[in-house]
Amino acid sequence: MYKNMLSTAMKITPLRQIIFGLFVLFFSSQTIASPSVITGHITTAILASSCSSCHGPNGVSSGPSIPSIAGIPKEYFLEIMLAFKLNQLPSSVMGDIAKAFSRDELTQLADHFSKKRFVPSQQPFDPVLAKKGAKLHEEFCEGCHEKGGSSAKDKEISILAGQHLLYLRWTLDDFKRNKRQATRKMAKKMRKLLKLEGNAGLDALAHYYASQQP
């Protein structure tokens, strides 16, 4: 969803991205084949461990607001981290911390967390709002955020179902206020939803995603 913005900002063409990806893949496979444990390079394990202080061990956050990053598609991870790096997203400290990591390191992290299991948060929610949210989701969001927002089949979106309620609600607000750039399709759907339901519609959606628990 940040693809256009980033491509322009960083002058990265899809082809160059692919070449870069292969380059990274080559070197990470070299890493695995290397006989040393930690020698000579920072392993992904140490890099990833720096995320767990805020996002929880293995990227599973206890909440109530910092999102879980386990299981999110690597394309989405990379795009959003690069957007943080460029100060294009609201954050408390993520925008600055993101600057510590090179693109290569972010790619390693993206790969690492995409392989972790996403664990839906066991959290309180409003069942009435969640029910209303389910209908709104079906009408406005399911087209891209498939299976009730639990699928991240389109690699540039994240898992919504089971994410922390506050994070969901605030992020919806950021989209509404154009603090986060939506795709044209999403922006259009969002305007329609807001016209129809206002902020209550965003509340309902957030509660619906939060309600999806095992």
């Binding site: 695995i32 040393s36 444990v37 992904t44 140490i46 202080s53 061990p57 607001s65 408390s92």
Partner: protein, 417 residues
Amino acid sequence: MNSSRRDFIRSVALGSTAALLGLSNHAYASGKRVVVIGGGSGGATAARYLRLFDPTLQVTLIEPQKRYRSSLMSGEVLIGTREASTLLFDYLKLSQLGIKLVTDRVISIDSEQSTIKTQQGDEFSYDRCIISPGIDFQWSAIDGYNQEITQQFPHAWRGGEQLITLKKQLTSMHDGGNIIISIPKPPYRCPSAPYERASLMAYYLQQHKPKSKVIILDANSTFDNQRGFKKVWRKYPIERISAEEVTAFDASNKRVTTHSGQQIKADIINIIPPQKAGKIAATAGLVDESGWCPVNLITFESHLKNNIHVIGDAAAIGEMSKLASSANAQGKVCAAAVVALLNGESLNPVPLIETSYAIIGPTAAISRGAVFKPTKGGETLTLIADSLKAKKTKRYPLREFYNAHSWYNNITRDIFG
């Protein structure tokens, strides 16, 4: 069990954990002994990550207390918006990870023999030792303020009983009474915590004792996140006297004297004393004239003693703040360095991230995140990103508040499992 079967089980266990961490599963220094001293944010993290990075290591954690009493979020306990029990953490999960827990106090470390002696008379040998002793206080710095007097005039800078005493003093103070909080020169544990405490106490006074106020006697002229704090202080009964260092304390008259000769009385006097590295660091000869422990900033190995690593508040870490999150970050990097060194390998510079949240009201907080990278030889740390220096378009105190709670919930799991 015969040895080949044992090896097989070990390699399977090792393989799965290593795969989990994305590490290759060979070339480990099988069975090497690492002793970690101190079960706070630094030590517990280091012990945990040593076992995660190399499950074949024999890791022993020596800590005098059965449970860790967090100072994080203690401000909320002080004003009654959080249960004190939520600050307690035991070591059960670390023990389940195969770490040997010893509830005892280390009294000496012999770096020549690589042995450690405890108060109860036990002796431990190590191949490498990680020490995370936290802070001690410079008792001679303030005339009239000493360790015994802290029972009536708690600093409450290491949580526990003193925090509860301070809380009782706060709730029982008469309306119209004043509170002095004195802040030392850096480096001290948690740079934003005195300002957090002042904010929360002032908020409490505003709610319960509207004729009272908080007076900050600050040895410093500026402080981190100053603008953010000062913004909320406009609403609170709080007065800060800048660049006034408390040099003397008169307990019987409840009065402090500053270096410029000002004398101020108050009903509650909360002196946060100047600090130095925890006692055992000095006993073990790890401390230099600064009062802190000089270390290599990649491996955290002491510059003064071989095979001993110092992490957390006690380590001299330049511009990096003495924080739970710093100790946590150092614990992981140090664990990786120890695993590497035990295998005769070295570690490249790893970035260190510090994050701190200060609660400034019932549903408001402010934060700081900074990233440091060591120079190639681990001589110094270079600041490479800092949220305080970044151009911020908008602050979200409410979001920061919930992020602060999330951070607390997550970092304590990262430390204690």
